[in-house]
Amino acid sequence: MSWRTIAWRKTLESTLIPFGAILVGLLLFGVFCAVAGANPFAVYGSIWKSAFGKWSTFQNTLIRAAPLMLSALCTALPARLGLVIIGNEGALVMGGLAAVSIGLAIGTAAPPLMVQIAMGLAGMAAGGIWIAFAGALRHYRAVNETISSLLLNYIAIALLNHLVGGPMRDPSSLNKPSSYPLAAVNMLGTIPGTRVHWGLVYGLIACIIAYVLIQRTTFGFAARTAGGNIRAARIAGLPVGQLTLIICFLAGSCAGLAGMVEVAAVQGSVNESLNVGYGYGGILVAFAARHNPIAAIFMALLVGGILASGGSLQRTHGLPDATVLVFQGLVFLVVLYSDSLYGRFSFFKEKPQLVAPPSPPPSPGQESVIVS
């Protein structure tokens, strides 16, 4: 009971610092807009309106947040093990490719729900294997996982272009090579009463499962221990290799599921639109959320909102579409900087609490009695 009363200052710190950082990011962006000749307050108004203001527009934010949540887990989960994985884009692409392959292979031979489940599983398996490969290289060959997962991104994108431009190409897609489209009945539906597809629910569930897995299970405890000190974990007999492979597989399968959601709910087929930046966006979400899956939900909403406001900035303020990139970059630079502020403000320091007097140490005589 007592730790709850003690920890409020820490909780306040970990809430106020990210929010303060986002405010400072907004301020810097306002300065940037003013220099570029737009009225910053009008720009803030447009962003708010087109991202969060109305239910009809907030749905656009939710649609973009769904793949970001899933993709963020691809970085956040391995981070708890001390690994910096940035292969989100590659796992997402592989997931999308696998999902469409299965979806096209089954076609309408099975009920839509079965097809969707098969596509989801295929996406998860493909993404999972992709990142588990980076994990295996790390464990068995000591290949830096950041670099290998980065290279795997490029290999996945090349594979996508190869398959979409050749073996899987729908001849009727002229300007932008695409695969054959999925059958309409096999597409993921929307949540009743909204335009938001079920991918959002997948994202929320995945984030909650990830949180419980890492914070509330022995498996998660083992992973965090190994992330804190790998030698201590080895000495304690933890199966570090197994942990690495399993965590990397789970991480990749989340990004793979994001790819499946994108093709089965938004694109309908697989083409180069699949790598529109949800991969790198997910990395930013993970770091900004400090690798906490629940915080990642909110960060994904924020980034989804920024992405959703791009069109309106272009239309109403004549700002180029790259404005959202500048905004996103500024916010994340400030959020990353804010990580260094923890513990710098004395207000958030826990005051020494009165503790119960320690029970008197047992006298040597008693101890020997116990021993004998």
């Binding site: 570029a36 910096v84 940035i86 290289l137 464990h139 068995y140 060959r141 000591a142 290949v143 830096n144 950041t146 670099i147 290998s148 980065l150 290279l151 795997l152 490029y154 290999i155 090349a158 594979l159 272009n161 190869h162 431009g165 050749g166 790198y280 990395i283 930013l284 770091f287 700002l319 180029p320 579409d321 790259a322 404005t323 959202v324 990139l325 500048v326 905004f327 996103q328 970059g329 500024l330 994340f332 630079l333 990353l336 900087y337 990580d339 260094s340 923890y342």
Partner: protein, 310 residues
């Protein structure tokens, strides 16, 4: 050009690869030298992709506005220097991960480049002059291959110079000390913060010039898709080169050549696997890392403080 290459047959393929090696290798050369300098000081700069794009845009815009491509090259370097200052300062704050800062800098740098570069997509800017080693009697494909950029020659000079700098100068020693063993550097009385900040900044200056070679030499235009990930590849290239500047030169040529392989084969009618050939450099790097890494020892030449918190 494509027709000429077809006429030359397989010699044309070889020639196209040689030409592509020098043209495509130039940006690789500058970003990898920049990344090499940065990593020698113990920090990773993944944000060179953003720096490259900003450099390409700045060089093109300045060249268009002033008519002087060389001023464009200089300003591209300075633009890189400024992005490097942000990265160098931010990535040295406590608990701030340099990989994460790098990714934020990719977003920020490419955002700045696309934002400011929007008006310059249409107009054509004066290009850097090239040094022509061919004569009119040669077949056109050969002539095109022998148009050598002064920037390529500049990079060719910087690689051994940087190698000498690390080996034989006091400042080179400081950088190596800070990168290998920050504690020893601190004992020497070297400011780790300043050395790393300067290394990241000058590394980004070089990457900015790499961007200039994209927009003012080859392909010689400014579009939002001008970089095909050369900035991100820099990190892999430096590993491939074992953190040695002269090896960076060979690695850049190899990667430039591998990049030219796909289009060159396409020009003789081999369409199959075009994109897979594009992936050749990445697969090659991965294979080399798998073969050279081992859990029993660290890579030779890796700066000791790389990827650690101090």
């Amino acid at each position: 050009m494509a027709a000429e290459t077809t006429a030359l047959g397989w010699w044309g393929v070889l020639l196209a690869i040689v030409a592509g090696t020098m043209r495509g290798g130039t940006p690789f050369l500058f970003v990898s030298l920049g990344e090499c300098l940065t990593e020698k000081s113990g920090k990773i700069n993944l944000g060179l992709e953003g720096t490259l794009l900003t450099g390409a845009m700045t060089a093109y815009a300045i060249s268009y506005l002033t008519g002087s491509p060389w001023l464009g090259v200089l300003m591209a370097g300075l633009a890189g220097l400024m992005l490097g200052a942000i990265h160098g300062w931010l990535s040295q704050q406590p608990r701030v991960n340099d990989v994460a800062v790098g990714i934020a800098m990719i977003v920020f740098g490419s955002g700045i480049a696309f934002f400011l570069g929007k008006p310059f997509i249409q107009p054509s800017a004066p290009q850097l002059p090239t040094i022509n080693l061919s004569n009119a009697a040669m077949p056109p494909a050969l002539q095109a291959a022998l148009q050598i950029s002064p920037l390529f020659l500049l990079g060719l000079g910087i690689a051994p110079l940087m190698s000498w700098f690390f080996r034989s100068t006091r400042w080179g020693l400081y950088i190596r000390a800070v990168g290998d063993s920050p504690d020893a550097a601190r004992a020497m009385g070297v400011s780790i913060f300043k050395v790393r900040l300067l290394s990241v900044m000058i590394g980004s200056f070089l990457a900015g010039i790499g961007g200039a070679s994209l927009s003012l030499y080859y392909p010689g235009v400014w579009t939002e898709r001008i970089s095909s990930g050369q900035g991100l590849m820099a990190v892999a290239l430096v590993i491939f080169a074992g953190w040695k500047p002269v090896q960076c030169l060979w690695a850049s040529l190899l990667f430039g050549g591998a990049q030219a392989l796909g289009p060159a084969l396409q020009s003789v009618g081999i369409q199959e696997g075009y994109y897979l050939f594009n992936a050749a450099p990445y697969i090659l790097t991965l294979l080399i890392m798998i073969l050279t890494c081992s859990p029993k020892r660290t890579l030779s030449g890796v700066p000791g403080a790389l990827g650690t918190d101090n």
